[in-house]
């Protein structure tokens, strides 16, 4: 009895306490001082913006074969200046801060470049002729080291990522200290405008290579002009490896070795985090934010890091619906912009003499039964709702010219809708026995590609094809070196927005023309296209090329892969940039509000 009564009393007290306390709360109200400070600085901007990247940058010189990664580009966008700035829509705009350029002749193609008078490296050394000459030496592939690689090809002193374009340039002539130089092309080169890029500090390379840096780098200029291999070898050695960072970026090299030519300079690094600060010697418009930090975060952890304010912006390398959902769940604290990237998915066909698709009518039948609209719906629109069926090969929806160009290629519109009857008729006309077996290969690691092949099979099997899925762990090697083992293949090409770079995909005998497509008209157009020197002349040729690729069917383009960029809504300035320069192309104009 007593025990029960005691219980009752305790329960009553507890219940009463609960009732009393149910609506009140302790704490809160915030710190007065902090609140006041917040109001006072509401108009001001934060002094640091943090950008999430998936891998640590691995070198200051991103133009070597070892270090040609997109994460170095993200940093170099704002630490190194080029004569041009590529816009998100692929158009090229001159960067007047570094200097000016002018095409003075079409035959031979001649371009005169002039560095701005006030253009200096962040250590105060003027940017001038020796920097330009070193760029030519490094990228032209004209300095054999005397060694050969395993296949017997000569190895260049400079381990450049690419010699495209520069290889066509004659050695610029001039004196050390000149602020201008001239590029004369042996053969016309369509993308000449973007070549005025990739200048590394020549005085550092010369000094580290044991050359004198007196007289504006006269020693280096002499060594290159006289092709002095002995003097150039240590310089090239430094150019190749001296600007590399340690793995996972525990610290930066000596700051004296990495002067910048952009709005920011490298300040410090630790544990994979790279800090840039405003370049006080910068000769262009001053960067808006004092400090930019690049922080390495695992791809799957980006969203939570953004949510927790540890990063302010990131470009996922693989934009998925899942990630988009997570970001959208964060509401208006985060802004997401999706779009069509420069990478596109397509189905290549084996059109060689022994290939199933040798007959144009079989190719057309296949194109008619591929459910392109459905594929876009399932694989592109979840991320980018306005994604469309890709109708061109060399001009992509992210580029400004796409809309206009696509209206001038009538044949590109013939395969918009699935036409099973038409496909059957074409197969009958071609006189093949149905069901026609097609070995459809794709990357074994990709469940996305497997799903796509299944969709194509569901549709095309009704039209008289018999699609056999053929997953391959190493699809590119098989495509290139095992002809006859596949009939169709679905994969992506990373477009560059350049005019000339796609040649080897389409011309007879091209390296990446895996299906052995051959069309004399296409070969002719490419021959003209790569030598065009005015971008305005390129478009009509490209339209002509597209018409050829569709009327004499080359492959079936599907869609431009969706891309994404996400940033905190306190950030002002970022946009989605599908080009290879990525989101940081205009990071010097970003601001972050404090409220």
């Amino acid at each position: 009895m007593t025990i029960r009564r005691r219980y009752a009393a305790v329960s009553a007290v507890a219940a009463g306490a609960l009732l009393l306390t149910g609506c009140g709360s302790a704490g809160g109200g915030g710190d007065d001082e902090d609140a006041g400070a917040g109001e006072a600085t509401a108009e001001e901007f934060a002094d640091t913006i943090t950008i999430g990247i998936e891998q640590t940058p691995d070198a200051y010189n991103s133009n070597t074969a070892d270090a040609n990664s997109v994460y170095n580009t993200y940093v170099n966008n704002i630490t190194q200046s080029d004569f041009v700035k590529v816009q998100p829509d692929g158009t090229v705009e001159p960067n007047e801060a570094l200097g000016t350029y002018e095409k003075t002749s079409d035959d031979p193609l001649t371009v005169e470049y002039t560095f701005a008078d006030d253009a200096v490296w962040s250590d105060g050394t003027p940017i001038d002729f020796d920097d330009a000459l070193l760029a030519w030496a490094a990228y032209s592939g004209t300095h054999p080291s005397g060694e050969t690689d395993a296949d017997g090809n000569p190895v260049d002193l400079f381990n450049a990522a690419s010699t495209n374009g520069w290889a066509e340039v004659e050695m610029p002539e001039g004196e050390a200290g000149d602020k201008s130089f001239t590029m004369v092309f042996k053969n016309p080169y369509a993308d000449w405008e973007v070549l005025g890029a990739g200048f590394m500090p020549a005085h550092i390379a010369a000094e580290q290579g044991g050359l004198s840096v007196e007289d504006d780098g006269a020693a280096l200029v002499d060594a290159i002009t006289n092709n002095d291999t002995a003097a150039l070898t240590p310089v090239a050695e430094f150019w190749n490896t001296g600007w590399a960072y340690q793995a996972n970026l525990p610290e930066l090299p000596d700051p004296a070795l990495i002067p910048s030519s952009g709005p920011y300079k490298l300040d410090n690094a630790s544990n994979g985090t790279l800090t840039l600060v405003r370049n006080d010697q910068w000769f262009g418009e001053e960067a808006k934010t004092e400090t930019i930090v690049f922080k390495t975060v695992d791809a799957n952890e980006m969203v939570q890091a953004l949510q927790n304010g540890e990063i302010d912006q990131f470009d996922p390398s693989n934009a998925t619906k899942d990630m988009l959902d997570q970001l959208e769940a964060l509401g208006d604290t985060v802004e997401v912009e999706t779009g069509e990237s420069l990478t596109f998915s397509h189905i290549d066909l084996d059109t060689s003499a022994t290939g199933v698709f040798n007959d144009q009518r079989v190719r057309q039948a296949f194109a008619k039964c591929v459910p392109r609209e459905e594929l876009v719906d399932k694989f592109a629109r979840p991320v980018y709702p306005e994604a469309q069926v890709l109708k061109l090969h060399e001009i992509l929806p992210a580029q400004a010219e796409y809309e206009e160009a696509v209206t001038q290629v009538p044949s590109a519109n013939e395969y918009d809708e699935v036409d099973l009857e038409g496909a059957k008729a074409l197969l009958a006309e071609a006189g093949v026995t149905t069901p026609l077996t097609v070995r459809f290969t794709f990357s074994e690691q990709s469940s996305l590609r497997a799903d796509q092949v299944a969709l194509v099979k569901a549709s095309c099997d009704q039209a008289g094809f018999n699609i056999e899925a053929k997953p391959d762990p190493d699809v590119f090697t098989s495509l290139a070196s095992a002809p006859g083992t596949w009939d169709a293949a679905v994969f992506g090409w990373a477009g560059s927005g350049l005019i000339a770079s796609g040649q080897s995909i389409y011309i007879t005998g091209g390296n990446q023309n895996y299906g052995k497509y051959t069309n004399p008209e296409v070969d002719r157009i490419w021959g003209e296209l790569v030598q065009v020197t005015d971008p305005a002349d390129a478009l009509p040729l490209q339209i002509e090329l597209e018409e050829q690729l569709w009327s004499n069917l080359y492959n079936v383009t599907l869609y431009a892969n969706p891309g994404m960029s996400a940033w905190s809504s306190s950030l002002e300035g970022p946009v989605y940039n599908p080009t290879q320069y990525g989101g940081t192309w205009n990071a010097e104009t970003w601001t972050k509000s404090l409220s």
Partner: protein, 512 residues
């Protein structure tokens, strides 16, 4: 003993040698190291393939490459020989500096977690053993198995959401309804009630007191803005030290008249430690690891000296316990200083101090305490994640071992000769129950060096686990082998240490 060690070292050497050979061959055969270049059609392809072939010696057959690697390792063993690099990775960079960075990072990440999990696991294990088949025992068993079966990446995501993102948001404006304060109080009270146990009346009292104390403390802390400007203050350090001194004395010496002097000596040591800390306050701002170490040693030494001086005929025991009290004072002092630097760190991290990724806030440029608080706040989530997993096994092992010992004849004898329960448990059971744990701990410390692969990836630490996975993904044998060399040697070495410790701790075991 000496024969045993020599024999073990020789055998171990061959075990490591054989396992490295096996590992090297497996890594080398796990794929084509040129894969990414073969898929690439950019103009520099040939040059890049040539460069990598040379870096990885791909023109040499695999056994030859293994011998080359052995040669690289040998250069590290022979003093004055060629440069010690442990080989080059595929980008022609020396592996040794990468290994050094990775080990440092991993140790910082995993040591705290392992030690904390060990302490917490052992204490919980002992208590569950003493309260066998109680609701607490069942509860802990349930939680232990639950934690043990959780996947790390999932726990990590949850931790990030609740302990980092949501807690950060809460900390911006710390507020709690009285209802939730009472609820938290009740939960904590219930926990204490089942841990302390006893009859119904005692449990109810414990429940009431603990509930009131918890809820009251929370209310005071919230209303005084403690969560914005947390600190213990010297007074807090002093009071908590005195309480700790009392508890340590009660636990290790008992409160009988015979050991009363131990209690007094400890209280004096706690007081003296606090005074020292108070005197040292001006030095706190410019502290470095050296001054910190000096201060810590000083506090502990003074405590031990006082324990010895005032201990009377129990001076040995008294000095030992006073040492523990001294360590407690140092820990409290550090906590106090870390808490005091919180407002600055809060401001410098943009109001979101608890991090979900990385190991430090870039460009913090803080004082000793600010930098360390930032490190602690970055370590918080990964430490919790690792602890949740390893805590489970420690609890179970300790419980089993403790129960086993409690049923031994010598424990019954101890009880029969009239020793009180505290002495039976602390001196006769607990000490012996720890012996089997020695093996486990030795094993775990070897494992610690291997890093925590998933945890490192999820929380953005580039430690040993990262070195291993990246190397393996890129079919780059030398970083993988560096990782393997460390873990293999550690495993073999700690195994040997465990065996020796075993013989040392348990006189029934002889090494032959």
């Amino acid at each position: 003993m000496r024969v045993f060690i020599v024999r073990r070292v020789v055998v171990s050497f061959f075990i490591v040698l054989a396992s490295t050979a096996l590992m090297y061959v497996l890594v080398a055969l796990s794929g084509n190291p040129l894969q990414d270049l073969l898929e690439n059609n950019s103009p520099g392809r040939e040059a890049r393939i040539a460069a990598r072939t040379q870096a990885l010696n791909l023109d040499v057959p695999i056994p030859g490459r293994y011998l080359l690697w052995l040669q690289d390792v040998g250069q590290c063993l022979v003093p004055g020989g060629a440069q010690c690099t442990l080989g080059l990775d595929r980008q022609n960079r020396a592996v040794l500096p990468q290994l050094e960075v990775a080990i440092g990072s991993t140790l910082r990440l995993v040591i705290a977690a392992t030690v904390l999990a060990l302490l917490l696991g052992v204490v919980t294990g002992v208590v569950t053993a003493l309260r066998q088949y109680s609701s607490f025992d069942y509860g802990v068993t349930f939680v232990a198995f639950l934690c043990f079966s959780l996947p790390v990446f999932w726990v990590s995501t949850l931790l990030k959401q609740y302990i980092a993102i949501d807690l950060n948001t809460w900390l911006r404006d710390p507020e709690m309804t009285y209802a939730s304060i009472v609820l938290i109080g009740l939960v904590v009270g219930a926990l204490w009630a089942v841990v302390i146990g006893g009859d119904r009346r005692r449990r109810l009292v414990v429940l009431a007191v603990a509930t009131l104390a918890t809820a009251g403390t929370l209310t005071v802390l919230l209303n005084s803005g403690w969560f914005q400007r947390p600190t213990f203050g010297i007074l807090g350090v002093g009071v908590v030290s005195l309480v700790a001194a009392f508890l340590w004395s009660a636990l290790f010496a008992g409160l009988r008249p015979r050991t009363r002097r131990v209690l007094y000596a400890n209280l004096a040591a706690a007081l003296a430690g606090t005074v020292l800390v108070a005197v040292a306050q001006p030095f706190m701002a410019d502290m470095s690891w050296l001054t910190f170490a000096v201060l810590a040693v000083l506090v502990v030494a003074v405590a031990v000296a006082i324990g010895w001086a005032l201990g009377g005929h129990t001076r040995r025991l008294s000095a030992q316990i006073a040492g523990v009290t001294g360590v407690t004072v140092v820990v409290l002092m550090s906590l106090d200083q870390l808490l005091r630097s919180y407002p600055t760190v809060y401001r410098k991290t943009g109001g979101r101090p608890i991090a979900t990724t990385g190991s430090e806030t870039p460009n913090l440029n803080g004082t000793f305490w600010e930098t360390n608080l930032d490190l602690v706040l970055h370590l918080l989530l990964p430490t919790l994640a690792i602890m949740l997993i390893s805590f489970a096994s420690y609890t179970r092992y300790t419980r089993a071992s403790m129960l086993d010992v409690m049923n031994q004849d010598y424990v019954r004898t101890a009880r029969a000769k009239g020793l009180n329960e505290r002495t039976v448990i602390v001196r006769h059971s607990f000490r012996n129950a720890l012996i089997p744990l020695a093996t486990l701990v030795a094993f775990d410390f070897a494992g610690v060096l291997g890093g925590a692969v998933v945890t490192e990836t999820v929380f953005g630490w580039s430690g040993m686990g990262r070195l291993f996975t990246t190397g393996l993904q890129q079919i780059d044998p030398n970083p993988v082998m560096a990782f393997f060399l460390i873990t293999a040697v550690a495993t073999v070495l700690f195994n040997m240490i465990a065996d020796i410790a075993y013989a040392f701790l348990d006189p029934r075991i002889r090494l032959r």
